[in-house]
């Protein structure tokens, strides 16, 4: 100790110490006060909040999944079923090394990187520790066995079974009933989380979507006390059983659906068949189709991309969503408009040279059999012949005479330009042009040439196959309106918010007779070359019942003026769409349909045989006739 000796000032030192220890004790009291204040805040001020949290911890509300309602066709065949599906789940807290476990599972049953990614997303959304999270769905028997055998080596890995939607008819019914999908984040924002707490899936398309509330059922609850590991302590505190969803019966007839699908074969197209007595949709086929089961538990990206990007757009429902020009199938409706308004007379005939020109306009509107040589045309044509020979020039003239306003008014009565379908949520409304529409969307006035085109179903007018089929059903009913619908029985369908049509009145019987008679001749008239119905040669020769029909051909590419086109030169995808609409039997119609063959060529030649196949199946099969009548009786009750 080198420093100078300083004697300690003991009394001063203990004075300082006394001050300090008192200050220190004061500080200590302050800290105590802080703790007391904190405890007071947590235990008294926030008591209710933490009591609730504590109860939420302790009491687990377990949701009990309701069984989704089944969907049957009119004959009781199952269209949508629920089957148990095994899934592999991982409970993170029980796993030593998550990545190692996933690698081990991958070696065992194969797990793709995208599946791992979705698994991690689900893991991050977990509500509580010890909640198991699925990593692989729909195990095969073999995968199930492999995992079960090796489970002991992988703590935390379990195989769980859950009921999932299954569509036994796979592709056949995909576009008719739609499908469920896993609830995604967008859905989660929209739906009531409580209603869906026992459910992983939601109806995304079609019937499954429209009747979601009916099919879903009501979730049940069981309140149990659990510990932090999710282990249930003792008996449930209380329980509310789930209520299964309502089963639905559809008008669809699986046999007819199959027949329509077979008739289309591998071609792209659609068939919509309606029972005109009820509006029930008997068949709704859109090809190509897809297997909706792929989507139920999550489709892998590659498969999805190949479906989505296919040039044939199999995911697209051509029957309800695709809009085409109706072509000549519009003619019976234009003709009816002419008769009702007095602009056309049954006995009035024109001389068809094969072309039509508006006054003061050089544009040439050709008939379908026009030739450069000038040898085309249908000769003397009245309305009857204009329909069964599908004479364009007659309708060019009639449309010009009617003007767009009358056409718009009367075609609206048949549902053109309006979506009338009740339970087909994806259905589109087509387009029935008018002056207002053209001014509104194109900012152009209506030209007389526009009307000329509408007269033969070309130009701006667009229809969906479903829409055309229901217009034909109204025609078959001689004006009694039916609303196209899938549902036959099961629940009260929600009334559509859509525009309802009134029955087409003020049309005298002789007008119906003429129009329907002319459509009958399309199929049955056999009076020699140039006088036969346009479809007679293809379907009328050996037909065993009376069918009314009309062919149509919708242009895909406009043909330049004065050019006789050569089908061979056109790319297959630019070829015209073939239409055929029909109903039968003529005196007591039980089925009305619309067939569309994409890039199929001429309607009579290519589309009418499909219509004939479908009608043959339906009308010549006694069993189905009986079933159909039964269904109509059920519907009327």
């Amino acid at each position: 100790m080198a420093e100078p000796l300083v004697l300690k000032d003991h009394s001063g030192e203990s004075q300082v110490y006394f001050e300090r220890i008192v200050q220190g004790f004061g500080f200590l009291l302050l800290l105590t006060l802080l703790l007391v204040a904190r405890m007071f805040y947590l235990q008294i001020v926030q008591h209710d909040v933490y009591s609730t949290l504590s109860d939420q911890n302790r009491i687990q509300v377990q949701s009990l999944s309701p069984v989704r309602g089944l969907i049957y066709d009119r004959n009781g065949e199952l269209i949508a079923d629920n089957i148990p599906s095994q899934r592999v789940t991982i409970t993170k807290e029980l796993v030593d090394d998550l990545d190692e476990t996933i690698t081990a599972l991958d070696k065992l049953i194969g797990i793709s990187p995208s599946q791992i990614e979705s698994f991690k997303r689900r893991l991050a959304r977990r509500q509580r520790p010890y909640e198991s999270v699925p990593i692989l769905f729909r195990l095969t028997e073999e995968e199930n066995a492999k995992v079960s055998v090796n489970k002991n080596a992988m703590p935390g890995v379990e195989v769980e079974a859950k009921l999932v939607r299954h569509y036994p008819m796979a592709e056949l019914m995909a576009h008719a009933v739609g499908s469920v999908r896993r609830i995604n984040e967008d859905d989660a924002k929209r739906i009531n989380a409580i209603d869906y707490s026992g459910t992983d899936h939601i109806g995304k398309i079609g019937i499954e979507k429209y009747y979601e509330n009916e099919l879903l059922g009501k979730v049940g609850y069981r309140r149990v006390e659990t510990d932090a590991r999710g282990q249930i302590m003792g008996a449930p505190l209380d329980q509310t059983d789930p209520v299964p969803g309502n089963d639905l019966v559809l008008h669809v007839d699986t046999g007819l659906q199959q027949a329509a699908s077979d008739a289309l074969g591998d071609r792209r197209g659609t068939v919509v068949a309606i029972d005109p007595r009820s509006g029930g949709i008997l068949a709704l086929v859109s090809k190509p189709s897809y297997d909706p089961n792929l989507f139920v538990t999550g489709i892998d990206f590659k498969t999805y991309a190949s479906l989505r990007d296919s040039i044939d757009v199999p995911l697209f429902n051509r029957a309800t969503q695709s809009q085409y020009q109706p072509g000549s199938t519009i003619k019976p409706f234009i003709g009816l408009t002419g008769l009702v308004t007095g602009m056309a007379k049954a006995d009035f005939a024109i001389e068809d040279p094969g072309w039509f020109k508006l006054p003061n306009n050089q544009r040439l509107y050709r008939d379908w059999n026009w030739k450069k040589t000038g040898s085309g045309g249908h000769g003397l044509v009245n309305l009857d012949k204009a329909i069964y020979r599908s004479c364009n020039v007659y309708f060019y003239q009639l449309a010009t005479k009617l003007g767009v306003d009358r056409i718009h008014e009367h075609l609206t009565l048949f549902g053109f330009g309006i979506n009338t379908a009740i339970d087909l949520p994806e259905a589109r409304s087509g387009l029935l042009p008018s002056r207002e529409w053209k001014l509104g969307t194109r900012n152009e006035p209506w030209y007389p040439g526009d009307t000329v085109n509408i007269g033969i179903g070309q130009g701006d007018i667009l229809v969906t196959p479903l829409q055309l089929a229901s217009a034909v059903a109204i025609l078959a009913n001689r004006g009694r309106v039916v609303v196209p619908r899938m549902l036959l029985a099961g629940v009260e369908p929600a009334l559509p918010s859509r525009q309802r049509l009134a029955d087409v009145e003020l049309v005298p019987d002789h007008v119906w007779d003429l129009i329907i008679g002319a459509m009958e001749k399309v199929v049955h008239r056999n009076e020699g070359y140039g006088e036969n119905g346009t479809a007679w040669a293809y379907i009328g020769r050996d037909i065993k019942y009376r069918m009314a029909g009309k062919s149509g051909t919708a242009q895909v590419v406009g043909i330049a003026q004065g050019e006789e086109y050569d089908e061979e030169l056109l790319n297959e995808r630019q070829k015209e769409h073939a239409w055929f609409v029909a109903f039968a039997p003529v005196d007591d119609p039980v089925i009305a349909l619309a067939v569309l063959l994409e890039n199929g060529g001429g309607g009579s030649r290519f589309a009418s045989p499909i219509a004939r196949d479908v009608l043959d199946y339906y009308l010549l099969n006694e069993r189905y006739r009986v079933a159909a009548n039964q269904a109509v009786r059920t519907f009327n009750e």
Partner: protein, 379 residues
């Protein structure tokens, strides 16, 4: 050395003698013992509930308390003069053991804290430092002019920094902070000027962002979680969310002993050790917590009284800093469980399950009693 010591005493020539009263025949302080017994019993009661009303852990803990009590009684018999004499040597041995831990220590849960002599015993040298740092500083200031000068403060800072850094390296941040705090408390009681204190605290606050980068990931995580427990509610934030839920759901009178759902359904982690106060708060409510806090305050008050009555610098500083360190434990533990202090592994004194901290605490009270009972009688 003892000659110097005696020479500088104002009343040189008088020896320490046992205070001539019945309570101190065995060098014990009856009031302190009653308070310690009360709090230990209270602690055992809570522990009994926290372990799910099994008697085995309670018996084991009682045995540890018994051993600690014997150690306390033994420590109380030793004269403060002896502690003063051996202080530098024990401190030196402590530091050497900390260095040995660095090289030969056993690693448990990622930190190297234990010194193990196979088959004989294992212990944490850092635990000794909780007593040795105050003791070495009290020794250092004992024969120096107070308030301490700059030069003395420098050496005092070295005496604090060496063990603190060695402990922080293990890593055991909680213990390092407590040890550092116990040393700083001696400086405070020694009368270090407020100016220095404000400077040191200011420097600590300013440099704290830089300290961030020294912290290990899990330590950074704890601080982030402290600031926002919802950051990772199922991971880092789980403990604090669950402990706050346990405390808050207790309310004024609690859910009743043995009725706490948070602890018994295992939502509350570490419910028998560091987080045991949450069990108390859940089952006995604010009233139960206040009772415990009052007991702690009474013990601290008794310690303060003893330190004031102590008649030399060594006794004063040692008794005062041990008492305050004890209370810092209480504050840090309850503060961390209730979410006003980041989570550091500090047990609740005399209540948390476990032997090491209890033995250190009772040893500390033994020293306080020694200081109390070996006062000179002025004739």
């Amino acid at each position: 050395m003892s000659e110097d010591f005696v020479r500088r005493l104002p009343d040189a020539g008088f020896a320490y003698r046992v205070r001539d009263s019945g309570s101190s025949v065995f060098h014990l302080d009856v009031q302190m013992i009653l308070l310690l017994v009360a709090i230990a019993s209270y602690g055992l009661l809570i522990l009994y509930s926290a372990v799910g009303q099994e008697s085995a852990p309670v018996t084991a803990q009682s045995a540890k308390i018994g051993i600690a009590f014997v150690i306390m009684v033994a420590m109380a018999q030793i004269s403060p003069i002896f502690y003063l004499r051996i202080a530098p040597w024990v401190f030196l041995i402590g530091v050497i053991m900390l260095v040995l831990v660095m090289f030969f220590g056993t690693t448990v849960n990622g930190s190297q804290r234990w010194l193990r002599i196979p088959g004989i015993f294992s212990f944490q040298p850092s635990e000794i430092m909780k007593l040795m740092v105050p003791m070495i500083l009290a020794w250092y200031f004992h024969d120096r002019h107070l308030p301490p000068r700059m030069k003395h403060l420098f050496w005092a800072a070295v005496m604090i920094a060496v063990p603190v850094l060695l402990i922080a390296r293990q890593p055991d941040l909680g213990t390092a902070l407590i040890v550092g705090a116990s040393g700083l408390l001696v400086l405070f009681l020694a009368g270090i000027s407020w100016r220095y204190m404000v400077t040191v605290i200011g420097a600590a606050v300013v440099s704290s962002p830089a300290l961030w980068f020294v912290l290990r990931d899990y330590q950074q995580g704890r601080i982030l979680t402290f600031l926002n427990p919802e950051r990772d509610p199922l991971g880092d934030g789980w403990n604090i969310i669950q402990s706050k839920t346990a405390i808050g759901s207790g309310g004024l009178f609690g859910k009743g002993l043995g009725e706490g759902t948070q602890s018994h359904l295992e939502f509350l982690p570490e419910s028998q050790t560091d987080f045991i106060i949450a069990v108390l708060a859940e089952e006995l409510g604010l009233v139960g917590v206040m009772g415990l806090l009052i007991l702690y305050l009474l013990i601290a008050g008794r310690g303060v009284m003893i330190s004031i009555q102590a008649q030399d610098t060594f006794g004063r500083l040692l008794a005062g800093s041990i008492t305050f360190t004890f209370f810092i434990y209480v504050f840090v533990n309850i503060g961390m469980v209730s979410g006003i202090v980041p989570v550091v592994g500090v047990p609740l004194p005399l209540v948390s399950y476990g032997g090491t901290s209890i033995i250190t605490l009772f040893a500390g009270f033994g020293i306080i009693m020694s200081i109390y009972s070996h006062r000179r009688i002025t004739l």
